[in-house]
């Protein structure tokens, strides 16, 4: 019993030390910077940091905006929008998703989470990350 107590008193501080500190970041809606807006206009997508997440903002061929997690649900690579095929693609293991985040093909086990996105009257884009 004393041995277990001794082991715990050594391991607990070490394990606590190795664990990451909680990450801080904006939790409310986030507006895209000018550079990010230019990127959306030029490439039809941009990846922006919102809190601890990477969010993919896409403008489809009809001009509609979509915001989804940019982290592939397969092995965590960052996805991209392929405007020619109107789909989201992960180059690492060839996973494909539609603009609603649903898996179309490839090994991804879950859909990409969707987030709120809207265009302001001044042309700016605001993304609100859902809690899920």
């Amino acid at each position: 019993m004393a041995g277990l107590g001794w082991l715990g008193s050594v391991l607990y501080p070490v394990i606590s030390y190795l664990g990451p500190l909680p990450m801080q970041g904006p939790s409310g809606p986030v507006g895209l910077t000018r550079a990010e807006l230019t990127k959306v206009e030029r490439d039809k997508f941009a990846i922006i940091p919102v809190g601890t997440r990477r969010v993919l903002v896409v403008e489809d061929s009809a001009g509609e905006l979509h915001a989804l997690d940019a982290k592939c649900t397969h092995e965590g690579c960052t996805v991209r929008y392929v405007s020619g095929e109107s789909l989201i693609w992960c180059a690492c293991h060839n996973a494909r998703f539609d603009l609603q985040g649903r898996v179309l093909a490839g090994p991804a086990p879950r859909p990409l989470s969707r987030h709120g996105v809207q265009r302001n009257a001044d042309g700016g884009i605001v993304v609100s990350v859902s809690k899920a």
Partner: protein, 464 residues
């Protein structure tokens, strides 16, 4: 018979203080068996150690200029390779020796497997060798991130993400490994500590134990033989030959490092610095991990999103874990070799493992699939077909050599590996479906052989 009184000069001075005579006596009498196996296999452990030594020395030189940090990792490597005199050569030597070390280590491991040199009393030599194989992969993986370039970033994202498949502890382990939920500069700090401190200390310890076992027990003889036809004095005869082999390796390393400073130009075997890592950039097309991880990378692609109630990556990594566990436990699983009888099934397991890994690696290179620079994706069916047409003739040629040269007669597992590739690539079946159709065949065949051996055991005196 020599004794301590024969020692003179410095040796005598050391012996008087530290009593090294028994050790010297041991080396004076130690012999390497000849005529048992091709002697080339005996040098592979030494060449692996040589490349590891070069890794340590060139790594120390890299540390003089490398500065880990978000604004300095990539920049210091670029400075090192473009401004520092011979910095490009030091980096090239470090990268080449890393790859050559793994080639040498893998060849050493497979030669040990095929010669059944893992059998008693050398089980722990095999296990420590397997641990060193794991450490070598750890060195490659942790070192890959340090330049903080695009390729390193995504390779680390994929590699570390696999950790979350560990039951119960997965998410916690992932956070500890990355220093957070995602790959950030905190991950680099942790990998830097692993690469230059934790792994080398572990490697020194295990290499020491492995060498101690090898020196104490000597080289393995062929199954069923109690002594070698001839012997060669370990010191100085074999030690000098070992040294000559190291010299050849050094020359080859320097020639390769100078002629190809950014690698062999094959995906997974090149180290162009490329773009700086940008966590907000998407993964680029054609991204591949290093060549020794390609088979796992490809296997991850072959698994569907869900399988038997598990997510695809979890199921895949479970399969990989089971395969590696089987590999580590071979000395205990191979009961025939334990009884000093030949074990053709385990030799065939070694060949089957090679065919399995080669097929997946060829597929990972997208051979025959087209696509590439214009952003076109390779056609998976064409890749599978081309790779099967390479593997099947290659496998048949290996089988022919085994029959003609080594008189092997047991091909169940290697045959299953070839049938799997043919059903998938030429027959057009999905990889896992082809695997599911193939897997029962060796099980039935091995079961049949086991029953037949058991029935004939009393009359045949136990010969399998």
């Amino acid at each position: 018979m020599s004794d301590a009184s024969e020692n003179t000069g410095l040796v005598k001075w050391i012996d008087e203080r530290y009593h090294i005579s028994p050790l010297l006596e041991f080396f004076r009498h130690k012999e390497v068996p000849l005529g048992a196996h091709p002697v080339l296999w005996y040098y592979l452990g030494g060449t692996t150690l040589f490349f590891f030594t070069v890794q340590i020395l060139s790594g120390l030189l890299l540390l003089v200029h490398y500065q880990p940090g978000e604004a300095t990792s990539y920049e210091s490597i670029r400075y090192l390779t473009t401004k520092v005199p011979f910095g490009w050569l030091v980096r090239s030597v470090h990268c080449w020796s890393g790859h050559l070390m793994i080639i040498s280590l893998v060849t050493h491991m497979f030669s040990t497997m095929l010669l059944t040199a893992y059998r008693p009393p050398r089980e722990l030599t095999w296990v420590t060798g397997f641990a060193l194989f794991g450490l070598a992969l750890g060195f490659g993986f942790s070192g890959y991130l340090l330049p903080w370039n695009e390729l390193a970033f995504f390779a680390t994202a994929v590699g570390t993400d696999s950790v979350k498949s560990v039951p119960l502890l997965g998410d916690w382990l992932l956070n500890v490994l990355r220093g957070g939920p995602d790959v950030t500069i905190n991950t680099l700090y942790r990998f830097f500590a692993l690469h230059v401190c934790v792994l080398p200390i572990a490697a020194f310890g295990i290499i020491g134990v492995h060498l101690l076992f090898v020196q104490r027990q000597g080289m393995a003889l062929p199954v069923g033989e109690s002594e070698a036809p001839r012997g060669m004095k370990f010191f100085p005869n074999f030690a000098l030959r070992d040294l000559l082999m190291w010299l050849i390796c050094l020359i080859a390393l320097l020639v390769l490092a100078q002629l190809f400073p950014y690698g062999a130009g094959i995906p997974g075997f090149e180290w162009e610095l490329g773009q700086k890592a940008d966590p907000l950039a998407p993964a680029f097309p054609g991204i591949k991990p290093e060549w020794y991880f390609l088979w796992v990378y490809q296997l991850l692609k072959e698994f569907p999103p869900h399988l038997l109630g598990l997510e695809g990556p979890q199921a895949c990594l479970m399969v990989v874990t089971v395969l590696l566990a089987i590999w580590a436990l071979v000395p205990w699983l191979d009961r025939a070799a334990r009884a000093e009888r030949s074990s053709p099934g385990f030799s065939d397991l070694g060949v089957g493992a090679i065919l399995f890994i080669v097929f997946l690696t060829l597929k990972a290179w997208d051979i025959g699939g087209g696509g590439g620079a214009d952003g076109q994706l390779p056609d998976p069916a064409a890749v599978a077909r081309a790779c099967a047409w390479i593997l099947v003739p290659l496998g048949l040629a290996i089988t022919l050599v085994r029959v003609m040269v080594f008189h092997h007669r047991w091909f169940i597992l290697s045959g299953a590996a070839l049938l799997h590739a043919a059903l998938h690539g030429i027959g057009g079946l999905p990889y896992l479906v082809a695997g599911a159709l193939t897997a029962p065949l060796p099980v039935v065949a091995i079961g049949f052989l086991a029953i037949r051996a058991r029935r004939s055991a009393p009359s045949a005196g136990g010969r399998p």
